[in-house]
């Protein structure tokens, strides 16, 4: 019973060794030339302009909220996909209605201007 978990233990050990070993190796082998630019936060290669702890625009919230709703609704596609062949036409129509209602919601927020960035 307990031996079933042995692979997990081995996996954990490899993870720890690899995680600790690679930075250690690179610090031992790599050259060291510190400079001010290298201490900056990494922003995908762009030079950061100001502190990261500034206020965000409320528009981010609106976009995020709308995203969450539509994103989470897609959860129902997964159980549906497993039996769609057995449900035949009925399943397709049913999911079509579901998607249609979601689409109408999208049309609504679009027309209301919730998707335009102020």
């Amino acid at each position: 019973m307990l031996s079933d978990y042995a692979p997990i233990l081995v996996f954990l050990g490899v993870c720890v060794l690899f995680g600790a070993g690679v930075p250690l190796l690179s610090s031992l082998l790599g050259p060291r030339r510190p400079s001010a630019e290298k201490d900056l936060p990494y922003e995908s290669g762009i030079v950061p302009v100001e502190s990261a702890r500034r206020r965000f625009s409320v528009s981010f919230y609106v976009t995020a909220m709308l995203f969450i709703v539509f994103d989470v609704e897609s959860i129902f596609l997964f159980p549906w996909a497993t039996i769609v062949r057995q449900l035949r036409v009925f399943g397709v129509v049913e999911m079509g209605i579901f998607i249609l209602v979601l689409l109408l919601g999208l049309v609504y927020i679009w027309a209301k201007g919730a998707l335009t960035w102020e």
Binding site: V58, M65, L66, V69, V72, F76
Partner: protein
């Protein structure tokens, strides 16, 4: 295995309840309510695998979707309150109790 799932879920639920009762920032209160709902999901999914019945998993999907909808409405209301210009503290919500 199964009793431990229930115990973990009960513990998570209790942490959520405590969070709602103790924390004052509405955002953190929301997070605590989410924690309670996820504890419920754990119970549902745990029973579902224990009983080998898929109803619990579907129920958990429903809970996830409804929780998302609830959070969206909540965040919308909070940004509204913020625009009116109020500090975000649930103890300050006493405009009507004077």
């Amino acid at each position: 295995m199964f009793p431990y799932i229930l115990l973990t879920a009960g513990f998570l639920f209790a942490v959520g309840v405590l969070g709602v009762l103790i924390r004052r920032n509405p955002l953190v209160v929301f997070m605590s309510i989410e924690l309670m709902l996820n504890a419920v999901n754990l119970v549902l999914v745990g029973y579902s695998s224990y009983l080998n019945s898929e109803e619990g998993q579907i129920f958990a999907f429903m809970v996830i979707v409804v929780a998302a909808a609830e959070v969206v409405v909540g965040l919308g209301l909070l940004t509204r309150v913020f625009r009116i210009g109020r500090e975000l503290d649930v103890d300050d919500l006493d405009e009507m109790q004077q």
